[in-house]
């Protein structure tokens, strides 16, 4: 049997095993729903099905993130497609009875055809509601690993790189560097020993895109990495995941083991001469380790602090060898591009930002959760159509993108298309996909202070501007928010922002002033209200005198 036939055989067997089931209940088993006991719910459903004898016809299946995280635990009932929200273990018997009777439980059903689902465009998350993340057969049955086997048996590495270049895929970690260009640089770098690293050290406050992808479709990342390794000529790969994601790590480990067993990772993949192994490295909680040179230092066993670039990792990376580092979501796009072709991919999105982007909606928004949208969608559509708007009828004030490296985008830009360049133009960045919505009860000085405190405590302390600058800027922001600052303090703050931005060693320091700069740009009047009138317009900050502070 050829490797391709083997894959088809596995898929066929798996499908045959499912045929006896006339219906299924898909329970979200990603972290959001597990945190409200979807694992208990799944057990209860299993027990209820067994008790009523429905387990012969109805399959209870764990699936990936279903998106509406704030309404969990979520369950989808097939074949009718009803989405149930806020399901409790006590509801199990009722659900099982309903699926046998083919009549949905109205009490638990979420509204059908919500814009939350209909307005999304799913590539990275296409399998989330279809497969059990802990079963490789499920992934293979939906066409998984087909792109990899097809590539290594019938195509050349140069063709794969060409495909990624043509697709116009750009780095989803936030920088937006052209992925194809990065791949071809590493492929051209001299030396036989090369590495592929998947950056899963997601650390922006309020962001959980990579986590959901790893928890919901881990094989997709492995396949993307293997395709990258084939394209650039690497034999070994690492996933650098933060230890705070135990479920993602567990599923990743399981996936690696399953793929190795099936001969889809390891030595002589699919009977070809291509070998590729993947190991997991756990981050110990330092945000700065998401910076590529710090990440490499951490994998090498050193202190996770960045080093000056150039030389770039593409030239001198892990153990001094050419290294390709891409983000989780970037790798998650790869297999779809190879499978469907670059033309298909580049038709989605805008001219300069192709494809889709996964966003984590958080903050003052009705539909907190995970979404994937085509590039070029407007912020208004994301927040008000998909996100369902602001709770309690409050007024929208700003949306924060890009985490501590990004900025706050005010209302006048709501109709702007979401793409790398447009976000940069208004002083923010695409970032890795965190989107925090703020309403009229949020104070922008307080927001800037929050992010500066984050940068201050996450600075590695290696270079002077970031080490001392973030601490000084944080102190100034405290002074402003407490109504103790003067206009001179504001001038100093702006001066330090400029200095830290242009002199820091790595991206953390270079972008740390962004939340301050962008709030100053659009909400300067709020800063001035704190300084001149000793008043917080949003009513968040408590004014204190110097005497109270030092008492």
């Amino acid at each position: 049997m050829t490797p391709e036939e083997q894959l088809l055989h596995i898929a066929e067997e798996h499908r045959a095993a499912q045929q006896s089931f006339t219906g299924s209940l898909k329970v979200c088993v990603a972290a959001g729903c597990v945190s409200c006991q979807s694992d208990q719910l799944k057990k209860a459903l299993d027990a209820a099905a067994k008790k009523s004898g429905a387990d012969k016809t109805c399959k209870i299946k764990g699936v990936g993130c279903l998106g509406l995280c704030a309404q969990g635990p979520l369950v989808i009932s097939e074949p009718d497609g009803t989405l149930y929200h806020h399901v409790q273990p006590a509801d199990a018997e009722e659900l099982i009875a309903a699926i046998s009777a083919r009549k949905p439980v109205e009490r638990l059903a979420a509204p059908a055809n919500q814009p939350f689902y209909t307005r999304q465009k799913r590539i990275v998350t296409e399998n989330f509601d279809r497969i059990d993340p802990e079963k490789i057969e499920d992934y293979i049955a939906v066409g998984g690993y087909g792109a990899l086997i097809g590539a290594i048996t019938t195509r050349t590495p140069a063709e794969i790189i060409e495909e990624i270049v043509k697709a116009g895929l750009r780095g989803r970690g936030g920088g937006g560097y052209p992925t194809g260009l990065k791949w071809s640089t590493v492929a051209k770098a001299p030396g036989a020993e090369k590495y592929v690293i998947c950056n899963a050290d997601e650390g922006d406050p309020g962001a959980f895109m990579d986590r959901s992808v790893l928890e919901s479709d881990p094989h997709r990342i492995l396949e993307g990495m293997a395709l990258a390794a084939f394209a650039i000529g690497a034999q070994r790969g690492y996933v650098y995941a933060r230890a705070e994601y135990p479920l993602a790590i567990k599923r990743l480990k399981l996936a690696i083991g399953q793929a190795e067993k099936r001969g889809l990772l390891g030595r002589d993949i699919g009977g070809t001469s291509f070998s590729f192994t993947i190991e997991i490295r756990l981050g110990a909680g330092a945000f700065v380790c998401g910076e590529e040179t710090a990440l490499i230092a951490s994998i090498e066993g050193g202190r996770g602090s960045p080093r000056p670039r150039p030389p770039y990792p593409a030239e001198k990376g892990l153990w001094g060898k050419p290294t390709l580092i891409n983000n989780v979501e970037t790798f998650a796009n790869v297999s779809a591009i190879i499978r469907n072709g670059s033309e298909w991919y580049s038709a989605i999105g805008t001219e300069k930002s192709r494809g889709t982007k996964v966003f984590a909606l958080a903050g003052r928004i009705n539909n907190t959760g995970l979404i994937e949208v085509a590039m070029g969608i407007t912020l208004r559509e994301i927040i008000f159509d998909i996100g369902g708007g602001i709770p309690e009828g409050r007024k929208f004030k700003a949306v924060q993108t890009g985490g501590p490296s990004g900025g706050c985008i005010p209302e006048q830009f709501l109709d702007m298309e979401v793409e790398y360049e447009s976000l940069a133009k208004v002083g923010s960045i695409m970032g890795s996909g965190g989107m925090i919505v703020m309403d009229e009860t949020s104070c922008m000085v307080d927001v800037a202070k929050f992010f500066m405190e984050f940068c201050k405590s996450e600075s590695c302390g290696k270079c002077v501007p970031c080490r001392v600058g973030t601490a000084q800027m944080y102190d100034l922001l405290c002074k402003i928010s407490e109504g103790r600052a003067t206009r001179d303090d504001l001038a100093l703050l702006e001066d330090l922002c400029d200095m830290v931005k242009h002199t820091s060693l790595c991206g953390l320091g270079q972008t740390a002033p962004n939340p301050v700069l962008s709030t100053l740009r659009f909400f300067r009047d709020e800063y001035l209200a704190h300084i001149d009138e000793k008043r917080c317009p949003a009513g968040v900050c408590k004014m204190r005198t110097a005497m109270e502070v030092h008492a």
Binding site: A286, V288, R303, S305, R307, P308, P310, P311, K456, S457, E458, S459, C460, G461, K462, C463, V464, P465, C466, R467, V468, G469, T470, A471, Q472, D475, L492, L496, M499, H502, T503, S504, L505, Q510
Partner: protein, 239 residues
């Protein structure tokens, strides 16, 4: 193995200079008598680009690059001094003074201190931001040397010389951000370190009075870094 060094030309401050591709901007500038201020850099130790004093403007790069850690390339155009660079350098020195407790008059390294010289050089006569006055530790447990965190600027020269030249790696950095400190072993008192060979190299490469020899009074500590020359001449001979 990297390709053998080629001979190239580049412009530093509008002067055309020749160089090898394995040299840094700082090497070439110094060779040609062009002064670029440095603080964490010390010839003979691996450059880390941490202090940001030696940042220069390079045409075609939208970011400033550390002269100590950036290799020259053919046709590069470097600017080592400008109003903006001077301003940033003064700010870096200010940051260092604000983040420690630097009192020159009572310091063993007074008049022999690279931080003090840098303040004079950059014209940093006073601070435009508040002092932080951190509460820091003095470790006098070693029989011959003293470590005073109040005067430490985290240049990591001690860390590098101990690791790269002495081969002991007694020193390393602990903590993050403004809380970062250099420590001996696993933050044990220096006097109880099982790896320290008491060679004193760290003391002599320290640019300030943070590491000093016991028994020296104010302004008496003079650092001698000439021992490093034998290491870099050896390295240069080999290449």
């Amino acid at each position: 193995m990297s390709a053998p060094a080629r001979v190239i030309t580049l412009h530093i401050d509008d002067r055309e200079v020749g160089a090898h591709t394995d040299q840094t901007i700082l090497d070439v500038a110094r060779e040609n008598g062009i002064f670029i201020p440095t603080l964490c850099h010390l010839k003979g130790l691996t450059p880390i680009g941490a202090c940001r004093i030696c940042l220069v403007e390079v045409a075609g790069f939208n970011k400033l690059l550390p002269a100590c850690a950036t290799k020259v390339t053919d046709g590069m155009r470097v600017v080592t001094h400008s109003e903006r660079l001077d301003r940033y350098r003064r700010r870096v020195v200010e940051f260092l003074f604000a983040s420690g407790n630097h009192v020159c008059s009572v310091c063993v390294s007074n008049n022999n201190c690279e931080l003090q010289s840098m303040a004079q050089l950059t014209g940093m006569t006073h601070l435009t931001m508040p002092y932080r006055y951190p509460r820091l530790r003095v470790d006098a447990s070693h029989e011959r040397f003293v470590q005073d965190d109040n005067r430490c600027i985290l240049c990591q020269r001690c860390v590098r010389v101990c690791d790269e030249i002495e081969g002991a790696h007694t020193w390393d950095v602990m903590g993050r951000g403004i809380e970062a400190r250099v420590i001996t072993d696993l933050n044990e008192p220096w006097g109880e370190s099982s790896t320290c060979t008491s060679c004193g190299k760290c003391v002599h490469v320290c640019p300030t009075g943070a590491l000093s020899i016991k028994g020296t009074a104010a302004a008496e500590m003079k650092k001698k870094t000439h021992f490093l020359a034998q290491y870099w001449t050896l390295k240069e001979d080999r290449s």
